[in-house]
């Protein structure tokens, strides 16, 4: 006798597992994007400000006493740091004294108002998106240092973090689904046996139900249900003949 499968009962559960994982994946990714993005942005802005301040402090002596090539040499070393895309130094009138742009200072920067102590977002055509931090040299009377950090680096870091997250969630999801299928299968088997047993009793085939009698020995709800069916079967009222002669 074939045991009846009752896995349909758990399809909603499986769907729920899928939905839950999806929700966890999406919500943690959004949280991760927000957290990593704001953390890195804050860190990059802090670093830029630190670097800009450091150059501004070093520049005073060079601007007052030395050749601008020494200043250029100084800022060239900073663009070797990952994330720093450009550095430029302007004098108090806004004239560019040293910069790291190739092939030239972008028009958007050249035409912008001279700033000495600000943080601005810049979109430079053909170059990308940047956070630009400015710090004054000698309180601004000798000009200002401007450091541009590529926000594309932040986006790349976020992408990497998300990639790692998706990778982890995918593994957990596959393991979770396999575990859910196994658990559902484990849970549905005794219920199926109880159902098979009940059907056999209903047909008055107590002997036929013998292969699944093991269900009566179970201590769980399926065993109790089977024993209840057996109790009803054995204490059932004598059957009343129906009008069409069937029991």
């Amino acid at each position: 006798m074939q045991v009846i499968k009752v896995q349909k009962l758990f399809q909603k559960t499986l769907f729920g597992v899928f939905a839950l994982f999806g929700f966890i994946g999406v919500s943690t990714s959004i949280l991760l994007i927000y957290t990593v993005d704001s953390y890195l942005t804050e860190e990059y802005e802090t670093n830029s400000a630190g670097i800009a301040q450091s150059i501004a402090d070093s520049s005073v002596d060079i601007l007052l006493n030395r050749d601008l090539s020494a200043l250029q040499s100084l800022i060239d070393q900073f663009v070797e740091i990952q994330g720093i895309s450009y550095v430029y130094i302007t004098d108090e009138t806004g004239e560019f004294l040293a910069h790291t742009f190739v092939p030239g200072v972008p028009d958007q920067i050249r035409n912008s108002e001279p700033a000495t102590n600000t943080t601005v977002q810049r979109q430079l055509p053909g170059m990308g998106d940047f956070v630009e931090v400015s710090r004054p040299i000698l309180a601004g009377v000798a000009g200002a240092v401007h450091v541009g950090m590529d926000t594309g680096i932040i986006a790349l870091q976020v992408q990497r973090a998300i990639g790692r997250q998706v990778y982890l969630i995918s593994i957990v999801f596959v393991v979770g689904v396999l575990a859910a299928v196994w658990l559902v299968s484990l849970a549905s088997r005794p219920i199926g046996e109880a159902l098979t047993y009940a059907v056999a009793l209903a047909r008055g085939e107590e002997e036929q139900a013998a292969p699944v009698e093991g269900i009566l020995a179970r201590n769980d709800e399926a065993g109790q249900l089977a024993r209840l069916f057996l109790h009803f079967y054995r204490h059932r009222a004598p059957s009343t003949p129906s009008t069409d002669g069937t029991a």
């Binding site: 030395r66 601008l68 250029q72 060239d76 910069h99 030239g104």
Partner: protein
Amino acid sequence: MMRDRRSLISAGIAGGLTWPWLRTLAETADSGITDTEVILGMSAAFSGPSRGLGIELYRGASAYFDDVNYNGGISGRRISLKIYDDGYQPDASVNNTMQLMLEDRVFLLFGYVGTPTVTRVLPLLKKFQDQSVFLFFPFTGAQPQREPPYGDFAFNLRASYLQETAGLVDNFVRIGRRRIAVFYQADAYGRSGWVGVRTALARHGERIAGEATYSRGTQFTATLRPQVEILQAAEPDAVICVGAYAACAAFARDAVDLGLEVPIANVSFVGSENLLALLTEGRERADSERYTRLLVNSQVVPSYEDTSIPAVLEYREFMQRYNPAVPAELVTEAYTPFDHSFVSLEGFLSAKLMVEILRRLGDEPARADLQQAVFSLEDFDLGLSERVSFADGRRQGLQQVFYTVVDGDRFVTLNDWDERFS
């Protein structure tokens, strides 16, 4: 017996205590000097797109050193060059200098190539100033090794970029070309030239008409059209380039191709023969002329074609006799040297002056006496029309700037700016 033992112990202790000190003193005093050798340290570009500069400078210097060595050296000591390749990269130059100063313990540094490299090396000389390691005759006209706080650690032979660019600007302005743009390498070298042009223009009441930059290491095969377009928009009367030959040749090519038909000037560092070779080799004569007819290069040594100059005659003779080659271990890329070039002539003159300074140190050369030996040079005849003098506060030997233009397949002295460019 007991007394002898005590004496022995005392002598041993005294010897043990004083030996390291004596050894350090001996090492310091004898650094780079043996009974048979004077060792000079050199870091320059022998690879990469600017390798022609290091190779030519080395060849010119070696021609003179070879002759000195052939004739018995200085006080019986041969001149030996310890050479490293920095590829014209600042970090490599710093590492090479550390190696030369601390490991190889050379007597002095000689013939470095480039502003971004030298600028980064100068603080090392200050850091180890107690060892009196000086840098002699670097192939750069930048200011950092001519001014405080590092000017005391270097001696220059050539005129500065300020002098070269001032001469170019003055001549352009004199012939009515007042709108001058700058094309320069985006580093300390380019900035040095940019400052020179800006300063010279300010004296004429002008400002830089337009500017464009390129990255150090740019090859001749690269396109520099964006830079040409930026400068074209400024409508300049002339362009002054402050770069290395590969990029400057590419710029001149693209400028002509895009119709920027104005004089294009280069400073001495460019390496004129290398520039010319890139613009002419493999081209029809008409094409070559089209790319080179508006070039004007400033030089810090006279034309090597002018055999009326004794130093030039000597240079040509020594180059032919010794034809020095770069040590095989430094040859990583193909390069065909020139029989003569402005760069190798500068190397030759630097070596000649270096030898004179070493001779003035006498039979027991010591680093501590180097500065005094240099300052003793007064109106020294190097074989040029200009005499060489050094003194405290005067650490540059030559002041003269020459201007050259292309005639056929070579650079010749420019005599008439009006006729050529008006």
